[in-house]
């Protein structure tokens, strides 16, 4: 059962747009985002509406940057973290592009890229718009506690990234290509602590990462940069340790978007998480580096903890998933 697909005619990134929240706008990658909002409400009366507004705005901005009309886009693939993926669904209503809603928790962006690339490479679409969003306050209230409730979090807890990202994929010529993808398996290693999602997701990232190299036959030093989605500091440390036990070391080339998006002193415990975490780092920072030729080969691994508040309260363990997408510029 092969999980990797290599494309003879790699799909390309036509355009991308990013909006980040206030805290992310104070982070080390702030200058790479198209826009930073200064308030979690973003001039709306609810956080849910603010999240939808961000997603709609990046979707329209990505189309504008590529000078593409909505009518020219074959499919809109989008998802978010909220119940019934309402952010994506409500934005799809406004966009009016044929729509497929996605959910892979924080790996949703990479799930969208995997599917979008396959739709284009398979000849089923010429242009696919991939969108994703997450919002600190909407996630916090759904998965955890009221935002103003006083809680002392553990060192492994993570901070949900506020932001939205849209990427327009297409065929033909483009600076950034997607030569191959690896679809992850949902795995469960029996961890049940909802404030340690990094630990729960590491086995998924490990499995997808090693499968990617095994199935493609690429050397471990092939990529200039590899980044997991949101394992954060503890998860990243675990992954490096597991790889070391297998005799594999990527050194400083292997990093994590959840670590990159915030400064350590921003009081985010282990780091960032959320669907927009890997999306903002990939489409903000990494695409910039690829466009400028600072790196030419990147492997991103979106990681998702597939839990809900109900499964947590019922004491069930946390399944996790990781999808890999490689981006290369020539």
């Amino acid at each position: 059962m092969k999980k990797t697909r290599e494309f003879s005619k790699p799909p390309v990134v036509l355009s991308y747009a990013t909006i980040a929240g206030p805290k992310e706008g104070e982070g080390p990658l702030a200058s790479y985002f198209d826009k930073v909002i200064n308030n979690l409400y973003y001039y709306e009366d609810t956080w849910e509406k603010a999240e939808q507004k961000m997603l709609l705005e990046v979707a329209e901005l990505a189309l504008k940057k590529a000078s593409v009309n909505k009518e020219e886009v074959d499919f809109f693939l989008a998802g978010d973290l909220l119940n019934q993926i309402i952010s994506a669904n409500f934005v799809a209503r406004n966009l009016g592009i044929p729509f497929l809603g996605l959910y892979s928790a924080c790996a949703t962006f990479y799930e969208g890229l995997v599917l979008g690339a396959m739709l284009i490479a398979g000849g089923f679409a010429k242009k696919v718009l991939v969108g994703v969003s997450s919002h600190y306050a909407t996630s916090e209230r759904q998965y955890r506690n009221p935002t103003e409730q006083g809680v002392q979090k553990t060192p492994t807890a993570q901070w949900t990234v506020t932001g939205a990202v849209a990427v327009l994929l297409g065929e033909g010529e483009g600076k950034i290509k997607i030569p191959r993808i690896t679809v992850g398996k949902a795995v469960d290693y029996g961890l049940a602590d909802p404030s340690d999602m990094g630990g729960a997701m590491v086995p998924a990232a490990f499995d997808t990462l090693l499968s990617h190299f095994k199935e493609t036959g690429l050397d471990y030093d092939y990529y200039d940069l590899l980044a997991t989605g949101d394992l954060a500091s503890f998860g990243h440390q675990l992954l490096v340790r597991l790889l070391k036990e297998q005799g594999i070391s990527f050194g400083s080339k292997l990093t994590d978007c959840g670590i990159m998006i915030y400064h350590p002193e921003q009081q985010v415990n282990a780091g960032g998480s959320g669907a927009a975490c890997s999306a903002l780092v990939t489409a903000g920072y990494v695409f910039n580096q690829l466009s400028q030729g600072k790196i030419t080969k990147f492997l991103g691994l979106g990681t998702g903890a597939l839990l809900s508040q109900v499964t947590t309260q019922q004491g069930m363990t946390i399944p996790a998933i990781a999808h890999a997408v490689s981006f290369e510029s020539y």
């Binding site: 506690n145 009221p146 103003e148 409730q149 006083g150 002392q152 675990l238």
Partner: protein
């Protein structure tokens, strides 16, 4: 290469960073003590105004609840709890925070199904199990002939 599940769980438990219990304990102790100290001062001020002792205790609680509610409303209380932990969760101020925060959070869903229905989501279990345990203690004391 498949990871061993038990081995993995052991590794996670072994290297997982633990909350700084001693530091958290000291900060909680100092802040908890400081809240009690303020309560004591307030109590003496109130009795100084000629308010009877029994009523003064009630006023102290009411004033603390008000302060905590305001601090929650302006978004400071959760930041303080992040630092002082149980020192601000255990006093009656923590109870106020656990009522005000869901009320603020759910006002977007309306006054009935939002604020009304969600007001006790955090404080509810405290009240229920507080009542049950006080009932058990009362029965035990009555059995021992102390009540």
């Amino acid at each position: 290469m498949v990871l061993d599940k038990n081995q993995y769980q052991k590794t996670v438990e072994k290297i997982k960073p633990k909350p700084p219990a001693v530091k958290n304990g000291i900060l909680a102790f100092l802040m908890g003590g400081f809240v009690c100290f303020l309560g004591e001062i307030l109590f003496h001020v109130l009795t100084g105004f000629g308010i009877p002792e029994k009523e003064s205790y009630t006023y102290v609680s009411i004033i603390f609840v008000l302060i905590a509610a305001i601090l929650t409303g302006v978004g400071i209380y959760d930041d303080l709890v992040r630092i002082f932990g149980a020192g601000l969760i255990v006093p009656i101020t923590g109870f106020a925070n656990s009522m005000v925060s869901p009320a603020l959070e759910h006002k977007q869903e309306g006054l009935v199904l939002g604020v009304g229905a969600k007001l006790f989501t955090v404080a509810g279990p405290v009240i229920i199990y507080g009542l049950i345990s006080s009932l058990i203690v009362a029965i035990l004391l009555r059995g021992l002939g102390k009540l």
